[in-house]
């Protein structure tokens, strides 16, 4: 379905940028240029590749508490600037696959990222969501003007993307949601990224408060949990790039379904109304995903030539066994969701099966759907398929809407309460972790940018080799 994407803060900006890139790469058209990014500092904008200057909105020019990168003296609200070390906001530095374009668009970029000033929370609103909200209030006319650029008639819904640990994401995001729901008749969703356990406590507090503010203002809120997705024994910063990719891939599997040019009409198509109905309950949603590679080896050369001659709809002509499809669907719901949760607490469920049309067994599909109904203990399961010709992969994507039993959120709230009741301890922890973490960041930056560059292109493969970048598929990246 057509979706307008509004990113706010560093994390939101990056996810939106990556989403648009992924649309191009996979030949799906979801946003149609209905994309905006809001931030209180300009650097993350410089790192984006797809956003036009029109789509980048810098807020807080007139607010005294907003610290710009080019202003050397520290902001008057000194406490805030020193508080939060890097969190999910550090995505900026590991996330950008093309350093060439960085240098082209931002001459100061490299310099900044190796200095202490790279802590994203030192600039903009300094990690303070209340300042973020103030800034957004003051700049309301600017925000409204920017939102005019989204053509509501062109989209079925709008989604706000924000890192909830950040001051801009949570603070400005809250106000943006108010604006979005008052201007638009259509559904408003949000995607929020929750900070990991080893990020500063203040970020947990911001995120818990942000969650409380966002959820009542959206038709549904997708969450991604950094804690669940960060790689063990490595610097957090390393994980963010892969978390972003995972997030974008799953979002696109859901909202990009049926938006591929030249897709044959499927029998069990997912209509945009199926998605909106699944989501319109309010509350928190999460996405599971599982992919299997189809055994193309068994299809001999002769058969492949024959199928070419017959102009067969697909290169893979062996139907996949019903049991395999059932297993795939069951894996999708048992795998790590964007936000791990108790799956029986789901209110509604959406299942999308993406793959070559002649491999999707009806029986497998139906028993898989039934299995979902049993496992999630809900009768509201909508399911459909998305035929992709010549694909060598079969993917099951499962959306659990309004999950209410989420240990990760309870944990976040406990940390938040602790941080709120003992702000001093928090500050000391934060500042001691501060320099060390920034150091780790700058060191890992060079290497990880390089290595992620390789995986990035391969992991994100929807099966249709649309660009040269997609052809280097390595088995390690398959789930």
């Amino acid at each position: 379905m057509k979706l307008a994407l509004v990113g706010v803060g560093g994390c939101g900006t990056r996810v939106v940028d990556q989403f648009v890139r992924a649309e191009h790469r996979t030949g799906r058209s979801v946003t149609n240029g209905n994309v905006l990014a809001f931030h209180t500092e300009s650097q993350p904008f410089d790192k984006t590749q797809t956003l036009t200057s029109d789509q980048q909105v810098l807020l807080g020019d007139t607010h005294p508490a907003v610290l710009r990168r080019d202003t050397s003296p520290p902001a008057p609200h000194g406490e805030q600037t020193s508080q939060p070390p890097s969190g999910s906001e550090t995505l900026t530095y590991t996330d950008v696959p093309s350093s060439e374009s960085d240098q082209a668009t931002s001459p100061t970029g490299t310099e900044d990222s190796s200095s202490n000033k790279s802590d994203p929370d030192s600039f903009g609103v300094g990690g303070d969501p209340d300042i973020g909200a103030q800034v957004a209030k003051a700049d309301r006319p600017e925000i409204r003007r920017a939102l005019d650029r989204i053509d509501e008639t062109d989209v079925t819904a709008t989604m706000l993307v924000a890192g909830l640990g950040g001051g801009t994401g949570s603070g400005v995001g809250s106000l943006l949601l108010d604006e979005l729901s008052s201007i638009y008749e259509t559904a408003v969703y949000a995607l929020g990224v929750l900070p990991a356990g080893n990020e500063a406590p203040i970020r947990a507090l911001t995120a818990a408060r942000g969650l409380q503010t966002f959820v009542p203002r959206t038709d549904s809120m997708f969450l991604v949990d950094n804690e669940a997705w960060r790689q063990d024994n490595s610097a957090i910063a390393d994980s963010y790039s892969s978390i972003n990719k995972m997030t974008v891939e799953r979002l696109l599997s859901v909202f990009g379904t049926g938006e591929r040019a030249g897709t044959p009409l499927s029998e069990m198509r997912i209509d945009p109304a199926d998605i909106t109905r699944t989501l319109n309950l309010g509350g928190v949603s999460t996405i599971g995903h599982s992919t299997m590679t189809l055994d193309t080896q068994s299809v001999g050369l002769l058969r492949r030539v024959l199928s070419l001659l017959r102009r067969s709809s697909s290169s893979v002509s062996t139907p996949v066994d019903a049991t395999q499809i059932k297993t795939l669907i069951s894996q999708a719901v048992q795998s790590k969701m964007t936000l791990p949760c108790e799956i029986t607490s789901a209110d509604r469920v959406l299942l999308i099966l993406t793959g070559p049309p002649d491999t999707i067994s009806r029986k497998g599909f139906e028993t898989g759907r039934y299995l979902l109904e049993e496992k999630t203990e809900t009768v509201e399961v909508l399911a459909g398929d998305e035929p992709v010709q010549k694909s060598t992969e079969l993917t099951a994507t499962v959306v659990l809407s309004n999950v209410t039993s989420v240990p990760r959120i309870d944990n976040l709230q406990q940390r938040a309460v602790a941080a709120q009741s003992d702000p001093d301890a928090d500050t000391s922890v934060a500042s001691s972790a501060h320099s060390q973490q920034s150091y780790t960041l700058s060191v890992t930056d060079q290497n990880s940018t390089q290595s992620h560059r390789d995986t990035q292109r391969t992991e994100f493969d929807f099966g249709e080799a649309t660009t040269d970048l997609d052809t280097t598929d390595s088995p390690d990246n398959e789930t």
Partner: protein, 390 residues
């Protein structure tokens, strides 16, 4: 019979399309008017045998549908049809109702558009016309889950009370291993289209010179007049057309001998039709009325066979109201027997769907009752120490 046909929703539209195709392939002329109604613009493009102006999009101005379907919600399906009823009525205006004997409304009962919008359409048709309105409904399979079962159980009630007869088709009875989704639905639609068209196309040529054995539209309508739910059985056999005139003549001479084998064949065909997969499995003896149509070359339809088949069905269906007649198709290479069991009252699948629907409804109500509270408790901490940002 001559029909005006209306497909509502995706399944209904595909069915009408398939009926038109079968008609075209077999040289029949049953559907004098065909129309499809849908809430999803994309699905409206699927039928191949309908002109652009015979496709009606409803709900494109409805806030929750906007031309993108109704998301399986029968309530929205009904709402949308209600809102756009003028639009629907306008298209009916083109239907010259005096040209047709009856109207057939086809829909899938598991989805939102078919189950919700079709009953609204039927209401309107009943208001506008005196001609009987028949329903053709596809029941969801067990594995389609609770929501479709609930849609179907509720919609079935509306359908059966509003239509003059409801012909049911059970998805579960036609599920088989090894099908892809695409094939599965295509095969089912073909099976159903074959049955419905072979049955209802009988008597389409009223001034047929074939005479007294031919089935009449009024016979079919009389059988369907019972109301309730009906099921259709079907069996066919290849009849090799006489290749040489001499042999045919010879056959004609030795009539008494071939007559008895033909008679056995005909009776066997009807048994097969009744005992094979019915469109909805049912206890045959619970039928109120029954009717057999033999469609094929007239010279292979043995009178003796027809009579003994009729008697057999009378006994099996435990009703004296059994009509049998021919639909002569001189150029056909198959002989088909279609058995219509009208107003069958013992259909296990419908009971199952109702049970599944009751469970589903309870679960949905439970979820509705606690939803707000659960969301609130999820986003607030235990002691409510945290405050929202704005």
């Amino acid at each position: 019979m001559k029909l005006a046909t209306i497909g509502v929703g995706n399944a209904g539209s595909k069915l009408i399309d398939q009926m038109l195709e079968f008609e075209f392939e077999t040289g029949r002329n049953l559907c004098r008017h065909a129309l499809v109604i849908n809430t999803a613009r994309t699905d409206l493009a699927k039928p191949q045998h309908l002109d652009e102006d015979r496709r009606v999009l409803i709900g494109d101005t409805h806030q929750k549908a906007r031309g993108h379907g109704v998301g399986g919600d029968a309530k929205i399906g009904a709402e949308v049809a209600q809102t756009d009823i003028d639009e629907i009525r306008r298209v009916f205006d083109d239907v010259e109702i005096h040209e047709v004997d009856a109207v057939l409304v086809a829909a899938g009962l598991g989805g939102g558009t078919g189950s919700g919008a079709a009953p609204v359409v039927i209401d309107e048709l009943q208001k506008m016309y005196d001609e009987p309105v028949y329903g053709l409904g596809v029941l969801p399979g067990t594995y389609e889950g609770g929501r479709p079962a609930l849609n179907a159980a509720r919609s079935l009630q509306s359908f059966v009370t509003k239509v003059d007869n409801f012909i049911a088709f059970d998805n579960d009875a036609w599920r088989s291993r090894g099908q892809t989704i695409e094939q599965g639905y295509e095969e089912m639609n073909e099976e159903l289209a074959t049955r419905i068209v072979t049955l209802l196309a009988a008597g389409e040529v009223d001034e047929s010179e074939v005479g007294e054995n031919a089935m009449d539209s009024s016979d079919i309508m009389r059988t369907l007049d019972t109301g309730g739910v009906s099921s259709i059985g079907y069996a066919s056999t290849d009849v090799t057309p006489a290749k040489e005139g001499l042999l045919a003549n010879f056959k004609h001479d030795g009539e008494s001998q071939s007559e008895s084998t033909d008679a056995a064949k005909i009776k066997g065909l009807v048994r097969r039709a009744t005992n094979s997969r019915l469109t909805v499995p049912c206890n045959v003896s619970s039928a109120d009325r029954a009717l057999i149509v033999f469609a094929g070359p007239p010279d292979v339809i043995s009178r003796k066979g027809v009579e003994s088949a009729r008697e057999w069905l009378e006994e099996t269906a435990d009703t004296v109201d059994v009509l049998a007649g021919d639909d002569p198709r001189p150029n056909s290479s198959t002989l088909a027997a279609v058995v219509l069991l009208s107003n069958v009252t013992e259909t296990p699948r419908i009971n199952e769907i109702q049970d599944q629907a009751v469970d589903a409804q309870n679960k949905i109500q439970e979820q509705d009752a606690v939803r707000e509270q659960e969301i609130q408790s999820l986003i607030t901490d235990e002691d409510n120490d945290l405050d929202p940002i704005v």
